[in-house]
């Protein structure tokens, strides 16, 4: 069962209480033990592997030297036969049979060690992968645990803080009201700025006929008209 299945099971069982670890200490401990066991298993397998590989090499060397022996003695037997010494040839043949017997045994041993080596290598590979997976899961569990701890700490701190007297709606309303006030003030400020700025004032004065430039022309024209009619 993956660690996250364990967490959800614990939660559904209502096992979690305020301030407690989300995954009970037992689960983490069991998990850490499984990891330790896997590590021990890998260590042992590696030691065994070294030993068996040495044995395989030894058997392999024996096979080599015994094979040479056989070939050598076959040579001797042939020489004996060439000489016509059948008795000697027979003796040598018996020796060859012995060596052959031993060679057979060593070959079987070598094959057996070789198979063992393969098995151990396979086991180490599989267990190492398992171990990596478990270690990753443990990190995730510990992260979940520490995030949960921090979150709970925040909840308790926050709950005891004075700022929790307002509901969410009240908080939101306050913030919006302040924003609105600020906008209103800014809008009012803009109006005031306009009035003191001269732009607004000038257009007002123009409307009232106070600005010098424009009325001067009109005055002149009026005077001219008056002069003409008089």
């Amino acid at each position: 069962m993956s660690i996250f299945t364990k967490i959800f099971t614990a939660m559904r069982g209502g096992a979690r209480e305020a301030g407690e670890n989300i995954v009970d200490k037992n689960s983490v401990r069991i998990f850490e033990q499984e990891i330790k066991d896997a590590q021990t298993q890998i260590e042992k397998a590696k030691r065994d592997l070294t030993q068996v590989m040495a044995q395989e090499m030894q058997a392999s060397r024996k096979v080599e030297s015994l094979t040479k022996d056989v070939t050598q003695h076959e040579g001797y037997a042939e020489k004996a036969l060439d000489k016509g010494d059948e008795t000697l040839a027979m003796e040598i043949a018996q020796k060859i049979a012995e060596i052959d017997g031993e060679l057979s045994i060593q070959k079987k041993a070598q094959a057996s060690f070789s198979a063992h080596v393969d098995r151990l290598k396979g086991l180490i590979k599989k267990t190492s992968k398992s171990l990596a997976d478990m270690e990753r899961q443990l990190v995730m569990v510990k992260t979940t645990e520490s995030v949960h701890k921090a979150t709970t700490a925040i909840t308790h701190n926050y709950a005891s803080g004075s700022s929790k007297l307002l509901t969410a709606k009240e908080s939101l309303d306050r913030i919006k009201k302040r924003q609105q006030d600020l906008e209103d003030r800014m809008a009012a400020g803009e109006v005031l700025a306009d009035e003191f700025d001269g732009d607004n004032l000038e257009s007002k004065m123009k409307e009232a006929g106070i600005v010098e430039g424009d009325t001067k022309a009109q005055d002149i024209l009026d005077k001219l008209k008056a002069k003409k009619s008089s």
């Binding site: 520490s146 709970t152 925040i154 700022s163 307002l166 509901t167 908080s171 913030i175």
Partner: protein, 139 residues
């Protein structure tokens, strides 16, 4: 492992730069687990809490307690939160015991600017979330 006190100082500096269009203050909260309280200018009623673990930095903002929600609307609200979660930039809804929260999580490799940005977005999302869920809340 993030050193929260170092983070606090850098973050406080960043908070005064107004890069995201707002300023914020950083107050470390002592305790078994170190937490930073972030007060965003003009939104002090909705503080943001920042904590760090070996793997991530978590920023949490409180929305409302379960008993602020109309009892008969809780299921509908939970459903609404689940379906909108994916559309909210950076932040997500969550429930811690009987407190609804909105939070964001970042990698411990994040820069100060990343964290400040997360806080800015979280702050706006908090306001919008309360607004969006207000129909479900008791008046």
């Amino acid at each position: 492992m993030v050193d929260l006190s170092l983070l606090a100082n850098s973050l406080a500096e960043e908070g005064q730069k107004g890069r995201e269009g707002f300023n914020f203050e950083v107050n470390p909260i002592p305790g078994e687990v170190e937490v930073l309280q972030i007060l965003v200018e003009d939104r002090e009623e909705l503080p943001i809490f920042v904590s760090a673990s070996a793997e991530q930095i978590t920023c949490i903002a409180y929305l409302f307690k379960k008993d602020e929600v109309q009892a008969e609307s809780i299921d509908a609200m939970n459903q609404a939160m689940l379906s909108t979660n994916i559309s909210i930039p950076l932040s997500a809804f969550a429930q811690v015991d009987d407190q609804y929260v909105i939070y964001g999580a970042l990698s411990v490799q994040s820069t100060i600017e990343d964290i400040a940005h997360e806080i800015a977005v979280l702050s706006s999302n908090t306001l919008e979330a309360i607004e969006a869920m207000s129909d479900y809340l008791k008046t």
